[in-house]
Amino acid sequence: MDIFLQQLINGLVLGSIYALVALGYTMVYGILELINFAHGEITMIGAMVSLAVINLLIGSTLDLPGVMIVFMGVLTAIPACMALGFVIERVAYRPLRHAPRLAPLITAIGVSIVLQNAAMLIWGRQYISFPPIIPIQRYEVLGATISNLQIFIFIFSALLMAGLIMLVHKTRLGRAMRATAQSPQAASLMGVNVNNIIAITFILGSALAAIAGVMVGAYYGLAHYYMGFLLGLKAFCAAVLGGIGNIAGAMLGGLLLGVIESLGAGYIGDLTGGFLGSHYQDVFAFLVLILVLVFRPSGLLGERVVERA
């Protein structure tokens, strides 16, 4: 029982990070029907930028408290990633807006490779460790342990997602985003500047990715120029699981995928008599992707889109 609870907690924490990244995929897909494969790399850039700022502040003579230093790191990573998301859309995707759908998809993969290599040139090939400047405390809950960092990640992600739902469903901007997602042409006939809405979508997704990147770096204590690749693919699986294009679906898919992965990693050793170990945890995301694509391609919350006859 305690291993189940432990893996459930770990899964929900990991899943809330997946959900934040998955939102970026799903929001862009919802409006452009483009899978922005460079999104994982934006997460990586978020982790790297925050880490650079954190190390700079630790090395400085300012002697700031640990929480303050991490906060400054996040506060730098967010605008950096927002700017990056904006530039990527403007330079790489907008010129291809009316091109066949394969062209922007391949461009996205190209952007992803460019960002990986740029990060490698700037920060090197080695793993960079996140300095443990905030003391980790662990609490016992029903035989499982949970850390202050885990609690923070889960609650902060939940707040961000609640905020996003409010934005999308309760504001004029959110209404324009949903209208644009349904029909850019009809939205433009309402006076909506569709290019601005698309730019805002990229900027919002990138801000969430930046935060997720810092969370991943802090959670595993490591950052690496290649870290965005697998994280991005898993978040993409989460978005497809929830129903790509559906915001609530991305949240649900992220949490579910995190839990499936954690429980899978926790039990795979016992189930296979020790033949496969917990390092096979990455298999589960792609297993889920295959199962979803075979049995429910529209995802859990995705609508089988039937527009007027």
Partner: protein, 251 residues
């Protein structure tokens, strides 16, 4: 321009001219859908553009709104060129199109669709009272305000599209085939509403295949054939014109 330019000299002279289209041409790929047309609309007029399927009527409206690029020619609106301007800027200047197929946001609620109509405005009190006015014109929209717009019938969707366009406070309202696919009872309800808002001073360009209905409520009409305007006259003259009667009124 064809025969019978009755009264146009006076119209062109005044500063009541709202829209002036000169030598407008639109091409898709190599195909010329609109081959150089001229027309104009003055404030307060209800003008119809009639013609058979594929004559270029819808393409003309799309070109006015910047939804398709023009090949050559010019569009002047309120004495300014808006040729090839972005659609959202044209809408913000008060030229509003209800497109063919209505352009309803089917996954947004009826109320949210109406709110999208007022997207460019922030005079909240006026929007509220005009939304009430739309509800009084179409009580069905009020009854179904929380429903997804995709669940409405075709006629209700057309009411929603019309109401939404009125909420944008247009100076010039462009209607593309408002009768398309609707039951006869609903068609007469929609046309009654068009006549009503025109009577309150709204300037309207109505594109219709149903020439009989369109000519009944319009002041003037243009007839379009294969990308060209072949006739232009007052609506009453057009409805007695033998060519129009033969080709479009089924006599």
């Amino acid at each position: 321009m064809g025969a019978g330019s009755a009264g146009t000299a006076a119209i062109h002279g005044g500063r009541r001219l709202l829209l002036e289209v000169k030598n407008l041409a639109v091409a898709y790929g190599g195909v010329q859908a609109v081959k150089g047309i001229d027309f104009c609309i003055t404030r307060g007029e209800l003008v119809c553009l009639i013609g058979a399927n594929g004559a270029g009527k819808t393409t003309t409206l799309k070109a006015l709104c910047g939804l398709v690029p023009t090949a050559h020619g010019s569009v002047h609106y309120q004495q300014h060129s808006i040729t090839n301007h972005p659609t959202h800027e044209i809408v913000r200047r008060g030229m509003v199109l209800v497109p063919e197929g209505r352009g309803i946001f089917s996954r947004l609620s009826v109320a949210e669709n109406l709110a999208m109509g007022a997207y460019t405005r922030n005079d909240h009190a006026a929007i509220k009272s005009e939304t009430d006015y739309i509800h009084s014109l179409f009580p069905r929209l009020y009854e179904r305000r929380h429903q997804k717009a995709g669940t409405l019938s075709g006629g209700e969707q057309q009411m929603l599209a019309l109401g939404r366009a009125i909420l944008a406070k247009p100076q010039l309202l462009l209607l593309d085939e408002p009768s398309m696919g609707l039951a006869p009872l609903m068609v007469s309800k929609i046309f009654e509403t068009i006549r009503h808002i025109a009577g309150q001073g709204m300037t309207i360009l109505l594109v219709e295949q149903n020439a009989k209905l369109a000519l009944e409520i319009s002041h003037r009409g243009y007839v379009m054939e294969s990308g060209l305007i072949t006739l232009h006259d007052t609506a009453s003259n057009l409805s007695t014109n033998p060519r129009v009667r033969h080709a479009y009124l089924g006599e």
